[in-house]
């Protein structure tokens, strides 16, 4: 039996909005070794964007000193992405998960971040402590491609 392919990467950067696109491209570039479908890749880019944006806006309230960590793990065709901030934390996680709920309507937030994460990923776990920060854990089983390429 072929051993399961495993790999990981960790990423750390400041809570600046210009790093949102960097974060999703970096995670997508790391996962491209699995030769994922375009659909899976777009889904993952979107959820990474959601979680990182939340850390920038809600976790650190746009204080660029804040640090965001992303850990991505590959285990066979299962991927796990963990986004961590050391910001304000979430008071009521159940409320936060509600579609359209946002604590910052004045910033034109749609309140759809967690709903999109839950729709696009197989598992969404939220670990948060007020005043200490938030970790979002996202798990997805990738769709196998019809044909895997020899070299990727």
């Amino acid at each position: 039996m072929k051993p399961v392919h495993t790999n990981f990467m960790e990423l750390c950067f400041n809570a600046r909005s210009e790093n949102e696109s960097f974060a999703r491209v970096a995670v997508a570039a790391f996962l491209s070794q699995l030769d994922p479908t375009i659909e899976d890749l777009t889904d993952i880019k979107t959820v990474v964007s959601e979680a990182v944006t939340n850390s920038v806006i809600h976790g650190y309230e746009e204080n660029p000193e804040g640090v965001i960590l992303i850990r991505t793990e590959i285990e066979g065709t299962k991927i796990c992405v963990q986004i961590t901030d050391y910001g304000l934390g979430i008071e009521d996680v159940t409320e936060a998960r509600q579609p359209l709920y946002t604590s910052k309507p004045e910033l034109e937030r749609s309140g759809m971040g967690f709903t999109i994460m839950e729709n696009f990923m197989d598992e969404v776990m939220i670990h948060s402590k007020l005043g200490e920060g938030t970790t979002i854990q996202l798990v997805k089983q990738l769709t196998p491609q019809s044909q895997q390429s020899l070299v990727n």
Binding site: S17, E18, E20, S21, E39, T42, D43, K45, T46, S49, E50, T53, V56, I57, P99, L100, L107, E108, R109, S110, G111, M112, G113, T115, I116, N119
Partner: protein, 117 residues
Amino acid sequence: MALHLDVKRSKNVLVARLDGELDHHTAAHVRKVIEEELNHEWVTHLVLNLEKLEFMDSSGLGVILGRYKRVTQMGGKMTICSVQPPIERIMEMSGLFKILQMFQDESSAVSACGVAS
């Protein structure tokens, strides 16, 4: 450049074409430019053409809903056109299509605002 925004006015309809990636970072620019245009008194309606929008997350939904509110308050109509499938999925999820009509192409979206294109 991550997002390019192109605006033109035809009669009382403002048409905004978005090209690139619409996220929290680029949303600020889109909001600012469209708001400025909506300040012109001859503009009543708004059409968003998303044909070249390659990426959008929920920050994009926020900007769209924000403009929808503004245009509706002014008594105008807002429509959207040429939405790519992944972005359509997110819009679907949020219930956006309950309030906003989507069209295949720009001229239908402009016509739907009540003006001949």
